[in-house]
């Protein structure tokens, strides 16, 4: 059973307009790298030239910000949902 990745509208042109994509991987990084293999183009949008997650890209695993866990090294279990969400403001 793979991991479900929720794709934000801005990136759906890369996923053939799919809002959700099934990808394998044991960590957030593996999932996102495999996402890039399945749908080329995600890598350069999510990561900067140095290979770190862009600072306005938020990734949530099971509704928790991965920065509260181990960042891209956070372990992912099959069946979990990974959401890619742009930062938003308000108050």
């Amino acid at each position: 059973m793979a991991v479900t990745v929720r794709i934000p509208t801005q990136l759906r042109n890369l996923s053939g307009n799919a809002a959700e994509v099934q990808v394998d991987g044991g960590t957030v990084n593996e999932v996102l790298q495999n996402l890039n293999v399945a749908h080329p183009g995600f890598g350069e949008r999510l990561f900067d030239d140095a290979g770190t997650l862009r600072r306005f890209v938020n990734v949530f695993l099971a509704e928790e910000d991965i920065r509260f866990m181990d960042g891209v090294n956070t372990a992912v279990a099959p069946g979990q949902v990974l959401s890619i969400v742009p930062a938003v403001a308000g108050g």
Partner: protein, 411 residues
Amino acid sequence: MAHVKGLRCRECGHDYEIAPIYTCEWCFGPVEVVYDYDAIRASVSREKIAAGPDNIWRYSDLLPVESDAAIDLGAGYTPLVRCDRLAESLGLGELWIKNDTLNPTNSFKDRVVAVALSKALEFGFKTVACASTGNLANSVAAHAARAGLKSYVFVPSDLEAGKIVTTSVYGGNVVAVNGNYDDVNRLCAELAGMYPWAFVNVNVRPFYAEGSKTLAYETAEQLGWQTPDHVVVPIASGSLLTKIDKGFAELYKVGLLDEEPKVRVSGAQALGCSPVAEAYLTNSDTIKPVKPKTIAKSLAIGNPADGYFALDVVRRTNGAMSAVTDDEIVEGIRLLARTEGIFAETAGGVTIATLAKLAHAGVVRPDERVVAYITGHGLKTLDAVQGVVGPTATIAPNLEAFQAAFTIEEQ
């Protein structure tokens, strides 16, 4: 008449047409309105502004909205009050309070919402929505009612009861979400991709955020077209602080100020939610999100979208940041109320407490003309001071009881 060219990503510079979009498709950075400043310069004047309405629409040349579509509840043009008694107690000289508690729904959010919903009407939206810590909820619900728009307002379910009542009364949908503001915000970012709604702080955010510039415009106009030396601004998402800095710069750019402004911009956060101040104080370039735990709920954004830009502004202008405890926030509210008769919500307590801290440290100086921004009314957060202030005495209804409780010397 709006003098806009388009939208541009603040992070990577990608250009976009004017549309209800909020992030760069390329890097997810926030997009910002790009103006035709030559056209504004040719159109605007101090006299034209002075002849305009006593609200934010007097600055419509500098806002991204066609003015004939503007929704008007009377947001903005709030008093700028000289505060000598507060200044004296803080060891400062010329101190002013921008009293934005006196907006239609009693917070500065009316400025941004008036712009956002006017733009939403222009785009043809029928339904507006927002994620809110309360003040934005009040304002969106009220302005939607005024404009005849449907509304969905998403708030954390643990919000102060008063803020739920003062939103629900306007008749739109109020959705209490079991989670904190960042959870609500994330939900809204996902909903915004599914429904054809104008989310004021999501897909019309580039326009919404511009409304905050009017705080800088008014400050300069009310000071006789001069700028302060130092401003103290509360930070939640960081947008307000960033836009105040931008507002001062724009006034010079379009010829409304004689001299290039040099305004030091300092930021105020609650210690229980201080990701931006933390980055500033530890000299870090990374803003690490936090889980908010503070009575200043209107500032409780643990993952501030404009935090990096606020940090840049404060560093560039030689300002500072500080974070204050819940006790200091309550004392800040009380100090402002008892010295100047202005009752602020917890965010205002954060601003005053931070001002006090920075004044004590010599960062905000007595030789500076200082403006502190009080962004919301104290009646919104009565809980914060309820147990702390109360009757001086409770007495029986007779003369003896009063005289036993009080020794009155002066006549």
